[in-house]
Every structure is written in C-alpha cells, then in structure tokens.
Symmetry: C2
Subunit: 417 residues, 2 copies
C-alpha cells in the first residue's frame, strides 16, 4: 500500500466495513495463495468477519477461490484465496506536450494494454484534449483486450500544477492550460459515451510517475524515492517515507526552475533554471541543432529529435556527446541539490531521459559525487526508469488500485449471476 496515496479523501470518512474490505484485499494481495484463517490471523479480524468480507470481495470479482491448500501444509486442506485478476481493469491516461498515453492494468497491476498517440496538447487546447482523452478511454473500455472487465476508474496524468481533490488543472505552463476543470469535463464526456459514474482521478505526472515506481518499478517499495520527468519540463515526484510530498499549496517537487546558473533564458522567463539547461528542448537544441527549428518545438518533432540524438551519440558524434555531457552535468547539479535536501534512497530518471541515460548518467553521477555532502551520496541510487514513457499513466492506474486497496474507492459493480 502506498501511504496516504493521492486519490480520495482521508481515512476518517471511510466506514469500518470499507476500510476492512481494503484490509482483507491487501492481505490477499500480499499473501496469496492464503486461507481465510491466515487472513484472519494477519488482520486480527474474527474468522466470521473475514468470511463475510471475503464473500463480498468474491461477489465483486476482486478475490477468487483457487482450490485446496498445497500438500506440504499439515492438517485438513482448506480453500485458498487469491486476487481475481480476470474481472476488473484500471485505466491510466497521460497527456503530455507531444503525446497522449493510455495504459490499462488488471487488479495485480499487470499491463493489459498500452498505447501512445502523438498529440499536440498545447496547440489543441484543453477542451479538444479532454475530448480526445475521453475517446481514448472509451476505445480502451471497448477494446477486446479488456473484454468482460469492469472499469475500476480512469486517471489522468498532466504535466503541471493540479488541484487533485478538485480535479482541476491549475497551471500547466508547457501546455499553456490554466484553471481547466478536467475532471468535470471528462465526467460529462464519459457520461455521454455511456461510462457514467466512473471514479476519475487527475494528478500531476511526476507524482504519478513516483507512484508507478513505488508500485511496480525495478526499485519498487523504496520508501524515499524521487521520480524525475524528462519531458519538455522537468518535474519531481517525491515520496518521503512512502508519502507523496505535495507541499503546502501543491507546488512541491518543482525542480525544473531551481536556479543553477545566471543563464540561459528559460521558457518560464527566468534565467538559469534546470529546465533551460537540461530539459529535453535544451538538450536537442544543442545536440542536433540542424534538426530543431527556432521557436517552440512540439509534437512528434521532439520524439524525432531525441531519436536522432541517440543515433548520433551511438555513432560517436563529438558535438552530440559534448551536448549530452553538459546536460548530464547540469542535471547532476540539480539532482545533487535534491539529494542534499531530501536524502532519498533513489532518484529515477523518466521520460526522454531514459533513452539518453547512457550519456547523461556518467556526468550526472560525477556531479553527485562532487556535491552531495552525505558519504556515498547517503546511499542514493540514480538510475533510469525501466517503465519508459508509460510511467505516469501506469502510476495513475496503480493509484486507482491503491485507492481500492485502502477502501477509498467503492467496490466495482457485482458480477452478474
């Protein structure tokens, strides 16, 4: 369980039964295959209570019986329980500067499908983007890969400041969206498409990337973890002792605009921000200037420029290598700052930083060794994410499963029959 996960309200508002349903579901998740008696022992609930809760979870398609206990156990063989991964799906969407992503996972958070769609969300504007997102969600719900599954909910990751409880995109500078009620708009659009009453979660892409790393990354269950988005912007999703650090007004983790130098000019109007030195625009402008026009670059152009940068770096192009070494150094100074302040166990580089990691990480590591005061960087690992460009979308889907696990989401509709 992610502590104090993003979705839903505080535990005080849960009924005891909702909270106990979540407790039993988590216990089955962690211990499956396991008997009702084992669940009772682990949760300290009575056997009668556990039986009643398990019956509910089975009726809603979340838990199933998988036959007798294995032979190595002594005593009368009991019926064992496991997660029922066949019945529900959680859908995670991500909107970014140059693409939309959709991921669906089952109750065990295994990926059922993943799609990328090139989309210029800045040029399209929030209303058109919401329509496109709703269409993607609808197509996903109807996809044969999700046949017979009930949708647990839909989440959307957005690169910007999000008022998550209200579902509003407060400010997404790289998309040029401000004050857009994305959740309400999606609710209308999904309702029109027949997906009514669907739980909807809107959150920041870096926060959801951190959730994805915590739930299913290669360093899963690391309690003090930072996920850095490597998109046009650089954002940090921070977990402190397993809790998302959002800050007092939701602006926590804004690493993209920490001042590292006197120059150059940043897209935000400030000077010397990390993003202006090591964001993807800055990198491709320096690495492959012949492929990047002056002015804003959007959409597929970014992906193409990154791919070209990788190709030329692999071919040993000295100018490209120099540009990546320089960006890696600045990234390292930014990450060193973050490590000095937060002392995390791991920093994971996501998004476009992943394909560039072979050239960014060595100079980044050298700066960490130079600037982190804790011996051996306080044990901090700095590595490329292995979740690729779907991290934030996966994290959103995982956050929905986590909300179910912690009794903050209603159970999905019961199975027919």
């Amino acid at each position: 369980m992610l502590r104090g996960a993003p979705a839903g309200g505080p535990a005080d508002f849960q009924t005891v039964r909702e909270s106990n349903l979540g407790l039993v579901l988590r216990t089955v998740r962690e211990r499956a295959p396991c008997s009702r008696a084992e669940v009772a022992a682990a949760t300290r609930l009575t056997k009668a209570t556990v039986s009643s809760l398990v019956a509910d979870l089975i009726a809603h398609g979340l838990v199933r019986e998988i036959g007798a206990a294995p032979a190595r156990r002594v005593g009368r063989p009991g019926v064992m329980l496991a997660l029922d991964e066949r019945r529900i799906a959680a859908v995670g969407l991500e909107v970014n500067v140059d693409y939309l992503t959709v991921v669906a996972v089952d109750l065990a958070e295994r990926e059922l499908l993943a799609r990328h769609v090139p989309f210029d969300a800045g040029a399209a504007g929030p209303q058109a983007a919401a329509e496109r997102l709703a269409a993607l969600a609808g197509a996903t719900a109807a996809d044969p890969l999700l046949a017979d599954r009930t949708l647990l909910g839909v989440s959307v990751a957005v690169p910007g400041l999000i008022d998550s409880p209200a579902g509003v995109v407060t400010d997404a500078p790289n998309l040029r969206w401000r004050g857009f009620p994305l959740r309400d708009r999606l609710r209308e659009l999904l309702g029109a498409a027949g997906l009514t009453g669907m739980p909807l979660l809107v959150d920041n892409d870096a926060n959801l990337g951190a959730v994805a790393e915590y739930r299913s990354g290669h360093l899963a269950h690391t309690l003090d973890l930072v996920y850095l988005t490597g998109e046009v912007g650089i954002g940090a999703g921070v977990l402190v002792e397993g809790r998302p650090l959002r800050g007092s007004t939701g602006y926590g983790g804004e690493i993209g605009h920490i001042p590292l130098a006197r120059d150059p000019l940043c897209g935000c109007g400030r000077r010397g921000c990390l993003e202006a030195l090591a964001g993807i625009h800055a990198i491709v402008r320096r690495a492959v200037p012949d492929l990047v026009p002056a002015g804003p670059i959007t959409g597929e152009r970014v992906a193409a420029a990154v791919a070209a940068t990788v190709r030329r770096a692999e071919d040993g192009d000295p100018g490209v290598r120099r540009a990546l070494a320089e960006a890696g150094e600045w990234l390292g100074r930014g990450v060193a700052t973050l490590v000095n302040l937060l002392n995390p166990q791991a920093v994971l580089l996501g998004g476009y930083f992943v394909p560039l990691a072979p050239w960014l990480l060595p100079p980044c590591a050298a700066q960490l060794d130079a600037h982190v005061i804790a011996p051996e960087r306080g044990g901090c690992r700095v590595e490329a994410s292995r979740l690729g460009l779907t991290a934030a979308a996966r994290g959103g889907a995982a956050a929905l499963v986590d909300a179910l696990d912690t009794g903050r989401l209603p159970l999905p509709a019961p199975r027919p029959g």
Copy 2:
C-alpha cells in the same frame, strides 16, 4: 503535538496506558481549564478511565485541580483541570562552534532560565565539551530558578549529522567531531553528578530549531515549516505536514552545500556551496575584513564580527551593505531552491541571520520573487526567527515535553507525600 516527533521509538511499543496518559495530558494542555467530563468527551475514553489517568497525572505533578468551573457554565460546578507548571522542568542544551546554550522550560514550555557560555567546542574536542555540557546541566538542575522541580530530561542540539536513536554525533564538520557517543558519555557524567536515569535526547540543531518554531515561535503550529540555522554552517530543519523530514539516512535538510555557483572554495572542500557564499564566516569576511583574521575564526570572534557588521551596516557603511546585499541574494537563491522543492508555508532564518535580517531579507525576498515558480511564492513567508540564539536548545526541551505528551517518555517521579 508534533507529529512523529524526534525522541523515542514508534508508537507500537507504547502500552495503551502510556499512550492514553499522553492523550489526556495533551487534551488538558489544549483545553485547560477543563473538566474530567470534557476530557472524556474529547478523547472518547470512559469517565472512569479518565479519572484514573488524571489521578496518575496529578500524582506525578503534571496536572492539577484549579477549583470549580467558571460561573458562566450551566449545571453543577465541577472541579477543573489545568497543567501543573510548577513541578517539572525540561533542560535543553546546545553546543555550537563558538558557544554553549542552556535553556530550561516548564511543562507549558515557558522559559525558566536561559544562559549562553562562550566555548570553542572545536578546539576543546567532544570529551571536554561533554564534560562542560554535563556541568551546565548539573548547575541548571541546582539553580534556584528550578527549585523543587523534577527534571523531565536533558536534550542536546549539535550542528551536524546525528544518529538520534543511538545518541551518536556521526559527523559534525564545523566542530570536527566524528563518531562521538555523546549520549552515553553524558549519561556517565550526569550519573557521576547524581543525575542518574535521566532521559537524554541528542539531535541536530536545525531539526530542533524547527521543533522550537513549531511549538513556540511566532508562526507556531505551521505544519510545513523550514528553520535555517545561521551559524558557521547553514542547516535546514524541515517539517512536512508537521513531521520532521530526516531523509533515508539522516542527511535531510543539508542545504549548506547545495551548489549555487562555480566558486568560491567552501570549508568542505567543494566549490560554490551556499555556506561558502552566505554562511556567517563568508559574510563577516567580506563585510568586516579588517576584523577577521585569515584562517579559521572561532569562539567569540564570530559574535564580535557579527556585532561589528550590524553596527557598520546601521551606520550606512557602503562596503558592509554591499557584502550583506550579496549574501542575501545568494541566501535567496538557496531558499528559492528549497521553496521550489518543498513548497513550505514559512522559512525562518535563525542564529546570526537574525541580527543581520534587516539587510539580508530584502535581497533574499527579491531572489525568491525571481526564482520561485509558484505564484506569490506558494504563500511562503520568509522571516527572521524571534527565538534568537536559544532556538535549538528550546526545541530540544520542547521535544522532551512533546515526548511526554505523546507517551514516549516515562512519567517523572511521583510527588512526595
């Protein structure tokens, strides 16, 4: 109550009675004067349980009866409860590069006494410093201002990395102490002085400064708060949602060595650290070079140089004003970084930054406005602490009271008779 406060172990190890004693004590602290019935209503404990717990708290000199309820209340007048501030005292010590501090507070955290003693802790070494601290604690316990009070415990604030559960100073670079078991040494020394079995707490000065601000500063009860020590080193004590952010290996809040520039050389051997640009040594070397010799400056020299800097700045000395403006700018870039990452409600400048604040704060604020991405700095106030040079010592004493409040300290010895 400070959430997850520094002293003691996790709540799991408390007995229910210890935890309920703390709960009743906190309730009386928050609501006094209040009746036993009000305590029962607020805590949801039975009246019989509350009566038994209150009897214990009275016997140990923590709560007292203060007569009937005021006349405006309806119904039969009941006996009212309040904190008994007359019986116990908590002692907070602080060791710094150039002075020792001792503060004693009562159960309401009102200051009973405060003393500063010039002391060169780096030159003296940790053993001599421990002896001096034990002597200070002994003299404080015997001070007529604390007559008839039971000592709740003794805390020590140290500028450096502390393994607080073990009571060990892992690394205090500005004191040049490493791996010193301060708590065990103090336990022996205090035992020899007749203060046996005393609860002892050792923690980082910035963390305890943040505790002091949270408990009794002018912005008390601010949940997302940063306290910056302004000593030879600069450290950050960070509260996130009321919890100390310590980091995965205790190195959280190391703002002093975040890289802000390519130069100058820092005492730590790195280049361009915040401390090298805006630490007290850096400030007085640039502001009053005629008064500061080459090489390390220690002890009373620092205090004298700061006092001279203040005098000349008041007199309008342009060189001093320029040096302070420049330091304030660098401090602002460091604080902007911290505000971008943590989005706190307040940053409080402590130690020697307090007398220099009239000249440091304006350029610091300008840099914040320039570099913080959140509109209106995310609501963050940046102000001088009003707790002066006693903040860390006060915070340590408050942490002891908080440990009592949360059932993590044993009750002091019962009152005789």
